[in-house]
């Protein structure tokens, strides 16, 4: 009871506005004849019929799969590449201009090339995500690895820590806050890129569904699909933040302690 109360409070604080907006939308759109603004009830019916029904397996799961796969490859590859660049000044010198150039490309620009290389395939969707979304993680990880305090480096050397210990127990945890900042941008780019690439070049998937419904004037479907995309973005961010909170628990604690002092 005592613990449930604050939880209820937070829930109420966070939920009142979305709930209010939904209610306003529901009543304002009720009985609407406007072809572009179908009643919310219609949108939700379509949503339930499509996304809780047949399309969950044919479009949602593949989209999610490609999105998650693309993000995970970007995350792992970005951390690995960033670590390498952070550790080796020579590698950094050599790779810096290339990395800066690649990350300056607006990610959707990669679409035509991705199409050329991979055709209209799931591999193409994933490849587009990786090519466009990996850079923030690469650069942030490299920065974080490099930012190791001189005294910590001295400590690692004087206690003769092994390379693996220096990497996994010192350098990477030290870089973790920056790595997560990079991963967050990578996550956002991943969502954008799966949608865009599916819109331009796919025969299924949520992105394809949204654009296709718009082109065939299935307006309720356009709205429902957009709702699905919003939910994917929102829920994936929630999961991401939960993981970050666990991994960076020490940092939150440290910050709280510093503020308390």
């Amino acid at each position: 009871m005592n613990r449930a109360l604050p939880l209820l409070r937070t829930a109420a604080l966070r939920l009142w506005l979305p709930v209010l907006l939904a209610i306003v939308w529901w009543y304002a759109s009720a009985g609407s004849q406007n072809i572009y603004f179908p009643p919310l009830s219609t949108i939700l019916e379509t949503f339930a019929a499509d996304w809780l029904g047949s399309r969950a397996a044919t479009d949602l799961v593949p989209s999610l799969g490609k999105f998650v796969l693309g993000f995970l490859i970007s995350a792992a590859g970005g951390i690995a590449l960033g670590t390498w660049l952070g550790l080796s000044p020579a590698a950094r010198e050599a790779a810096e201009p290339v990395v800066q150039f690649l990350r300056s490309l607006p990610p959707p620009v990669l679409l035509p090339i991705g199409l050329l290389l991979f055709g209209i395939t799931g591999t193409m969707n994933v490849a587009i995500i990786v090519m466009g979304a990996i850079w923030p993680t690469v650069l942030n990880t490299a920065d974080g690895i490099r930012s190791l305090d001189g005294q910590v480096a001295d400590m690692s050397r004087s206690y003769r820590l092994t390379f693996a210990q220096r990497l996994f127990s010192v350098a990477l945890p030290n870089a973790a806050p920056q790595v997560f900042a990079g991963l967050r941008t990578t996550l956002q780019l991943s969502i954008i890129l799966i949608v865009v690439s599916e819109m331009v070049a796919a025969a299924s998937g949520v992105g394809y569904y949204v654009l296709n419904s718009q082109q065939t004037f299935a307006v309720a479907q356009t709205w429902a699909g957009t709702l699905v995309l919003g939910l994917i973005g929102y829920l994936s961010t929630l999961v991401f933040l939960a993981v970050e909170k666990r991994v960076l628990n020490w940092q939150h604690g440290m910050r709280r302690a510093a503020e308390g002092a």
Binding site: Q151, D154, M155, S158, Y159, R160, L161, P173, G253, A257
Partner: protein, 280 residues
């Protein structure tokens, strides 16, 4: 005149083998015309079991000296030996307790994990746990190993850093102004703690400080550095009885004498530095 009361050792070899030996150690930072000579031929040795304090004006190169001994910096001339071997990389039987405890313990690990980290390649798990427990106990942190460094006070963090050094069971423990950042009362506690654990672990200690009282109170021998470019200006045997006692030892006339002598040497070194700088 004071030289006659205070015996400054130059030639006479004390008992015990030298574990740390500095031979004409030189270190300059930078290259070419912008190079600054910090250490300008430093010679002294630390014998097994000794507690040696190094004092010197701020900026005289105490940290630089310690890093050369620890194998963290390459000398520009001369050499430092550890147990008869020239130091080219950090020696395995040497541990360092750094000045800034807040940057030396890893905040993403509990204190226990911090202490365990350097032990992982040295000892089997069972022995590791026993060593950690013993080290924590001897610095008064028994049962606190599960805490993160940032959950501890400054004094506790420095105790934890000392425990890490002790658990590593080095032959020589180097300490760089380890108590500069803690309050006076904690400092007194930690001084006695260090004397206690060095007896318990039978460790040789080389202790850098800018606090003259601390140096004379702790040391068997005090090395006074001149101002930069730095050499050893005095090498003083502290003939105060053991065990030391915060009130009784500091009340002894001999303590006051030694203290005053070291103080004067450092003042002289400081004004020399100023003169050298003005000349340059």
């Amino acid at each position: 005149m004071q030289q006659s009361i205070i015996e400054t050792r130059t030639g006479d070899a004390p008992a015990g083998e030298a574990v740390v030996e500095l031979v004409d150690l030189r270190k300059s930072y930078g290259t070419g015309p912008s190079a600054v000579q910090i250490l300008d031929g430093v010679n002294f040795e630390v014998r097994r079991g000794e507690f040696v304090c190094v004092v010197g004006p701020s900026g005289s190169g105490k940290t630089t000296l310690l890093k050369c001994i620890a194998g963290l910096l390459k000398p520009s001339g001369g050499r430092t030996d550890f147990e008869g071997q020239e130091v080219t990389e950090p020696p395995a039987k040497l541990a360092v307790v750094f000045q800034d405890y807040s940057r030396s313990l890893l905040p993403w690990m509990t204190v226990r994990a911090n202490i365990a980290l350097p032990l992982r390649n040295k000892f089997p798990k069972q022995e590791r746990q026993a060593r950690i427990d013993e080290a924590l106990e001897s610095v008064g942190l028994a049962g606190k190993g599960h805490l993160y460094p940032w959950q501890m006070s400054g004094g506790m963090q420095q105790r934890a850093a000392i425990a890490r050094g002790l658990a590593y069971q080095p032959d020589v423990l180097l300490m760089d102004e380890p108590f500069a950042a803690v309050d006076a009362q904690t400092r007194i506690d930690l001084e006695d703690l260090v004397l206690e654990v060095r007896d318990r672990y039978d460790t040789t200690v080389l202790f850098v400080t800018h606090d003259i009282d601390e140096a004379v109170y702790l040391a068997d021998r005090v090395i006074v550095l001149s101002g930069a470019p730095t050499t050893v200006s005095h090498n003083i045997t502290v003939d105060l009885p053991h065990p030391r006692h915060q009130v009784d030892t500091k009340r002894e006339p001999r303590f006051a004498e030694l203290r005053a002598f070291v103080f004067e040497q450092i003042q002289a070194a400081k004004s020399n530095t100023v003169r050298n700088r003005a000349d340059a």
